[in-house]
């Protein structure tokens, strides 16, 4: 195996996704192949309806493709049932949502610690309190641990959501428009956190976004149009983008 193969966190081969049947069928994705690696922050661009969210759902083991194969950490996940997918997600995946999706009745630290509770179903939540609060402090949220989500700003909520995802120690973090609801400063702060997650924790981070201000924080930019992967570029230090030559793997014959 090559070094490149070793760092692959999720790999999709010739995947398509079709909603509906017959004349009303909608092809959200068509024959997409790519490999997402550890230590990279990948941005996924594309107009509305281009298939970004569907690709994110498939990468995160939330949705099966209609055709093609998905490998998460070298495990073929196509065909697994929902409980098996849920087990894979809690072991390897973290999610950050556009609207934060925090649990409104839990305090900030509880919102973070609950992530561990999903894995350790019967254990006490307070066992994970220190770890959760340490993460919150790292993300600049000291002093807010006892607040409820409705007492936070959008940027603070998004960092809580990131802390929740981080507590799972994911190998793959998927974010859907994480800066869409944030102002410029808060958006940059969130982007910096995602960047640090990829480079310091060697997490594979995939961000669906329309926000081109995130490009300086990224390693790679994918663009989808009409369900097809139309470009795959590496972001260079000078801000220029060049084709990402090793990323797109042809389907295995």
């Amino acid at each position: 195996m090559t070094e490149d193969h070793h760092s692959a966190v999720v790999e999709v081969r010739g995947i398509s996704r079709c909603y509906g049947e017959g004349e009303t069928a909608v092809h959200a994705l068509r024959d997409v192949s790519l490999c997402i690696r550890a230590g990279e922050l990948t941005l996924l661009f594309g107009p509305s309806g281009s298939g970004k969210t569907t690709l994110l759902q498939i990468l995160g083991a939330l949705l099966h493709p209609s055709n093609g194969e998905v490998h998460l950490l070298q495990q073929r996940i196509t065909g697994r049932d929902e409980e098996q997918l849920a087990a894979l997600r809690r072991q390897h995946c973290g999610f950050v949502f556009q609207h934060y999706n925090l649990l409104s009745t839990l305090r900030v630290w509880e919102n973070v610690a609950i992530a561990r509770s999903v894995v350790d179903a019967t254990g006490s939540l307070s066992r994970h309190a220190e770890e959760a609060c340490t993460l919150l402090r790292q993300l600049g949220l000291s002093g807010l641990e006892r607040r409820f989500p409705n007492q936070l700003s959008g940027g603070q909520k998004q960092r809580v959501a990131i802390a929740r995802a981080m507590l799972m120690k994911p190998r793959l973090l998927l974010a859907d428009e994480p800066t869409a609801a944030l102002d410029a400063v808060a958006g940059r702060r969130v982007a910096a956190v995602l960047n640090a997650l990829a480079h310091v924790r060697r997490c594979a981070v995939v961000v669906v976004t329309h926000d081109r201000r995130l490009i300086p924080f990224a390693d790679r930019v994918l663009t989808l149009a009409d369900g097809e992967l139309v470009s795959d570029q590496r972001v260079h230090a000078n801000g220029q983008m060049r084709p990402y030559s090793i990323s797109v793997h042809p389907p295995h014959r």
Binding site: A87, F97, N101, A121, T134, Q138
Partner: protein
């Protein structure tokens, strides 16, 4: 990309929010932050989801409390009625009862000849045989109303059939002419105000010479105790007639054997054990008359109302939080983990509602001791109520659980 990372760090530093995602040093938390006791994520979430909307929570609790109280009181009445119906049988010390053939309950019976006593005594294993007369009669109150009473005639010398808890002095008082014992709980109903009061039973003079305590009657016709001889006069029986013969066996005698012997020797009678006669009486009053069914129906109604209220409030709470449940599912929560949240909500509702409801039932049971209608709350009934409440809330959670089973984790990204 190194520059991008540096830029990111610089941005963070400028905003006074240092991000050090690889730091692993945990700082101890203030103790006040921690829950007072170890609590799992599902239980905490269940509790918070329940209590977050106080109006809905209050409605749930009121529903559960109402159901527990309704079920508890109806079941308590049923048990109380069962005990009351067979109370006379249960409180009478006998190994076997000889009844007129086909007697369905202790309150309504045909006649036996008193010589059945002698016939029973002719068996070597029979230690004693005593007549007991139970028959309805009319009682005229001082204000001219007519009430139905149940005359119980027994032999004060043997005390077999005597009301429980009555002392020797009171029994001796029955030697006074026309003497009767009246239940205190029914004094008002019968217009009895004092000892020595003269009353009228089936047009015959009677004198209240004592009181019994806590002897209720399922038929609400109060038991009036007197001597057997006097009872035959009150109910216009021939002195040689009675309604039951109570048999006590010698030590070591086989009840089944003696019963068979008695049954063979006493034609047109039923020879039964006290337990059988009590069951027969309860069956008659609670099943044949439909009284028990009515009580069970009311208890069932309570169960149904509780299930609907809990189901409706849990379901609306679940629907309100579908996005949160889908988020948890997307994070990898198993279906069982999500179920546990809803079931925990159900168990918490059940526990809190039961705690209040059972106090109300207990209070009703205590108050009933001053009433002619008994609400009984034995420990097994309290446990049965707890199980019913849990079952009711679990049933209420069923719709929510079904809805959660259909949740699409991918919906969080739509």
């Amino acid at each position: 990309m190194g520059e991008a990372a540096n830029a990111a760090q610089a941005t963070l530093a400028a905003s006074n929010h240092a991000v050090v995602v690889n730091a692993a040093v945990a700082t101890p938390l203030p103790a006040m932050w921690m829950p007072r006791w170890p609590i799992s994520g599902t239980l905490l979430l269940a509790w918070r989801n329940l209590t977050h909307e106080r109006t809905r929570f209050a409605a749930t609790l009121i529903g559960v409390v109402f159901s527990v109280a309704l079920m508890g009181i109806q079941l308590g009445l049923l048990i109380g009625f069962a005990r009351t119906a067979s109370g006379l049988v249960g409180s009478t010390p006998a190994d076997l009862w000889v009844l007129p053939y086909g007697t369905a309950n202790v309150d309504i019976s045909g006649q036996l000849l008193q010589r059945r006593e002698i016939e029973a005594l002719s068996l070597p294993d029979v230690a004693s045989a005593d007549s007991l007369l139970v028959q309805f009669a009319f009682w005229k109150t001082p204000d001219g109303r007519t009430e139905s009473v149940s005359i119980v005639g027994f032999d004060p010398a043997t005390r077999v059939g005597a009301p429980p808890g009555v002392d020797d002095d009171t029994l001796r008082a029955l030697q006074i002419d026309d003497g009767i014992l009246v239940e205190r709980l029914f004094m008002q109903k019968l217009g009895v105000e004092r000892l020595g009061q003269i009353v009228e039973i089936n047009g015959q003079r009677a004198r209240v010479v004592g009181f019994t305590d806590g002897i209720r009657s399922f038929t609400q016709s109060p038991y009036v105790f007197t001597t057997h001889a006097r009872a035959t006069r009150f109910v216009n029986y021939h002195p040689t007639q009675t309604t039951y013969v109570l048999v006590r066996l010698r030590s070591g005698a086989d009840v089944d054997v003696v019963r068979s012997q008695l049954q063979a020797r006493l034609p047109r009678t039923d020879v039964v054990t006290p337990g059988e006669f009590a069951s027969r009486t309860q069956y008659y009053w609670l099943v044949i008359t439909g009284a028990g069914f009515a009580l069970l129906l009311a208890a069932g109604l309570g169960l149904m109302v509780g299930t609907v209220i809990v189901g409706q409030t849990l379901y609306s709470s679940t629907i309100d939080r579908l996005t949160e449940y889908a988020t948890l599912r997307a994070m990898g929560a198993s279906a069982a983990w999500l179920r546990r949240i809803v079931l925990s909500q159900a168990v918490l509702s059940a526990s809190l509602g039961y705690s209040v409801g059972i106090v109300l039932v207990w209070a009703a049971a205590q108050l009933s001791s001053f009433s002619t209608v008994l609400v009984s709350l034995p420990i097994w009934n309290a446990l049965l109520l707890a199980a019913l409440t849990l079952g009711m809330c679990a049933m209420g959670a069923w719709m929510s659980i079904r809805r959660l089973a259909r949740i699409e984790p991918s919906s969080v990204f739509q």
